[in-house]
């Protein structure tokens, strides 16, 4: 009887909250033994597919265990970011506080006046920017895709256009934005052209490297089986290009959004960038920062919730046992 009572509590076994994610972490806390330095390397993290979860928290006291929950850590991360912002608010008089930004943006949405200044334009600029963005991508992504497929499949086209595409890729988005607004003035054409021109090389380069990454022995296989043209195009060419294609499209989305903001900031009479610039010139930093943060929020949500998920889905067949840090952290 006493034997049983004295035995240490068993480590939690199968009721693992994370399901099948393989983990290498020890069930028991490892005594931090300074005499064997190598012992610290026995359990180097093997990065599992998918989320990188913190090590199993058995053996820690209740508050420490709570601190190790992933969502708690994420919350702490956001609190740190907020604290940095709050510090900047105090340190610099140009940085508006969070509640100030929120209340300003709220008056932008509902209309009315804020601090004696008439505000209340929200959906107009936002809708216009999104419209320009959508048109630009709707032109730029297919154009880049066609160019990229041609670059990948034909060595002639590669010889002709690869260097040009690389030159276009090397041009910073801001230069495209400046050129577009010099060429097309204060119209809606300038932002659309800027989005198109920044999107095309990103999409093209990624499509082309996707095509070229397809294993040539698979083409031999298709030749031996006399696979139909349609199947070769859909399953082999497009199927093999898809993961890189998604990367290219995601980059087109983010850089296009960048150059849209620049064009609108420097040369437009409407749109998100223009509105931010408007409040900047009026020295209303709350409105200015609010619009910029809105801009960040939109692309971050699109990137994290839609684009990266699609990209991961397209890579689903690629079951790697471990991910590198960069892959796991989505960089």
């Amino acid at each position: 009887m006493t034997d049983v009572a004295q035995r240490p509590p068993a480590a939690p076994g199968p009721n693992d909250p994370y399901g099948q994610v393989p983990r290498t972490a020890p069930a028991q806390p490892r005594p931090n033994d300074p005499t064997t330095f190598a012992s610290g390397f026995q359990e180097l993290p093997t990065l599992p597919v998918g989320d990188l979860r913190p090590a199993r928290d058995a053996g820690y006291s209740a508050p420490r265990r709570a601190l190790r929950r992933p969502w708690v850590v994420q919350l702490i991360a956001f609190l740190i970011l907020l604290a940095v912002w709050q510090y900047l608010t105090v340190a610099s008089d140009r940085v508006p506080s969070i509640d100030n930004i929120l209340s300003f943006m709220w008056t932008e949405v509902t209309g009315g006046s804020h601090g004696g200044m008439l505000v209340g334009e929200f959906w107009g600029p936002l809708g216009l920017s999104l419209q320009r963005y959508a048109i630009g991508l709707a032109i730029g992504i297919p154009a880049g895709a066609v160019l990229g497929l041609a670059l990948g499949t034909s060595s002639w086209v590669r010889g002709l256009l690869n260097d040009t595409t690389l030159v276009l890729l090397a041009l910073p988005a801001v230069v495209w934005a400046f050129l577009a607004s010099l060429w097309f003035g204060l119209t809606s054409t300038a932002p659309i052209v800027a989005v198109v021109l920044t999107a095309i090389p990103f999409v093209a380069i990624n499509f082309s490297s996707g095509v070229r990454s397809i294993d040539p022995t698979l083409m031999e296989m298709s030749k031996a089986y006399q696979v139909s043209r349609r199947n070769q195009t859909v399953d082999l060419l497009l199927g093999g290009t898809l993961p890189n294609a998604f990367t290219g499209v995601r980059l087109a989305f983010t850089t296009g959004w960048n150059s849209l903001l620049i064009v609108e900031w420097f040369g437009a009479t409407a749109g998100v960038g223009w509105r931010a610039r408007f409040w900047y010139d009026a020295l209303r930093y709350a409105g200015f920062v609010g619009w910029i943060l809105l801009f960040v929020l939109l692309i971050t949500l699109l990137d994290r919730l839609v684009l990266r998920r699609l990209e991961r889905h397209a890579f689903q067949w690629n079951q790697k046992p471990t991910l590198s840090f960069a892959e796991d952290w989505g960089m």
Binding site: K223, A224, Y225, Q226, V227, D235, L236, G239, W317, N318
Partner: protein
């Protein structure tokens, strides 16, 4: 009736940056296979076996000589089991099977499932190739070759990627399926017992891609690898390889 006619077939690979010498993979191969026979091409590593099958399948072009693979006067449909699985990594097993079909109808799906069942893989039809073991992937390749209803079956060491146990049972299975369908088959291997167990005729290659012997195997089917008659033919094949090696060595000394 399917015929493979190989006349004076030579393949020379040009020098590459990594290996700046010409390589003679095949040196004047003459061979003709007609009708429902199972021919094994037996040779050590580097003797040009894969090159031979690639040329028959139309994947590579010969340097000189000619290859004709016809079925009743029209180009034959080949089913090729490659040395590696060669599956599309981004398609599931089932879709890999459907890839070689012209249309993706219900019927072709049923056929695909039938052949997957034949190699014992219908359970994993919806997994990706990376989720299968190497042997399982190779079995998908075998099922795919049967799926196109080939006139000529080309197989390039199909069992070399699997454990001996699976290989043995699949060998037996292949023999039964072949007896049922009796397709013209060119089977490349470096395993003597495999060749004797399966083939009606064994063509032996030596390095440089030269046929040095061609022996018939007239044993009743189904055969068993432990059968003394099979063992006897194996011994004969090995003896001929040894005398070939001796002759090559002797020739080298004399020259």
């Amino acid at each position: 009736m399917a015929t493979v006619l190989i006349e004076n077939l030579t393949k020379i690979y040009p020098p590459t940056i990594t290996y700046p010498h010409r390589v003679q993979a095949l040196g004047g191969v003459n061979m003709s296979v007609t009708g429902n026979v199972f021919v094994a091409v037996l040779g050590p590593s580097g003797s040009g076996k894969t090159t031979l099958l690639n040329i028959v399948a139309g994947v590579e072009t010969p340097t000189s000589g000619s290859v004709r693979a016809v079925q009743d006067g029209v180009p034959a449909q080949v089913g090729y089991v490659f040395q590696e699985p060669r599956l599309l990594p981004w398609r599931t097993v089932l879709n890999n099977m459907l890839y070689v079909q012209d249309r993706k109808s219900d019927r072709s799906r049923r056929e695909a499932e039938f052949y997957l069942t034949m190699v014992g893989l219908n359970e994993v039809a919806h997994l990706y190739p990376s989720q299968l073991s190497a042997g399982m992937q190779q079995r998908v390749g075998i099922a795919r070759a049967f799926l196109v209803n080939p006139d000529i079956l080309l197989m390039d060491e199909p069992f070399s990627h699997m454990d001996a146990l699976t290989g043995r049972s699949l060998r037996e299975y292949l023999q039964r399926v072949w007896l049922h369908t009796r397709k013209t088959a060119l089977f490349v291997t470096h395993d003597v017992s495999e060749a004797v167990e399966l083939a009606d005729r064994i063509v032996m290659l030596r390095p440089g891609g030269v046929v040095f012997d061609d022996i018939p195997v007239n044993l009743p089917r189904p055969r068993h690898p432990d059968d003394p008659a099979v063992r006897a033919v194996e011994g004969e094949v090995l003896r001929r390889f040894d005398s070939m090696e001796a002759a090559v060595r002797f020739g080298a000394q004399a020259g």
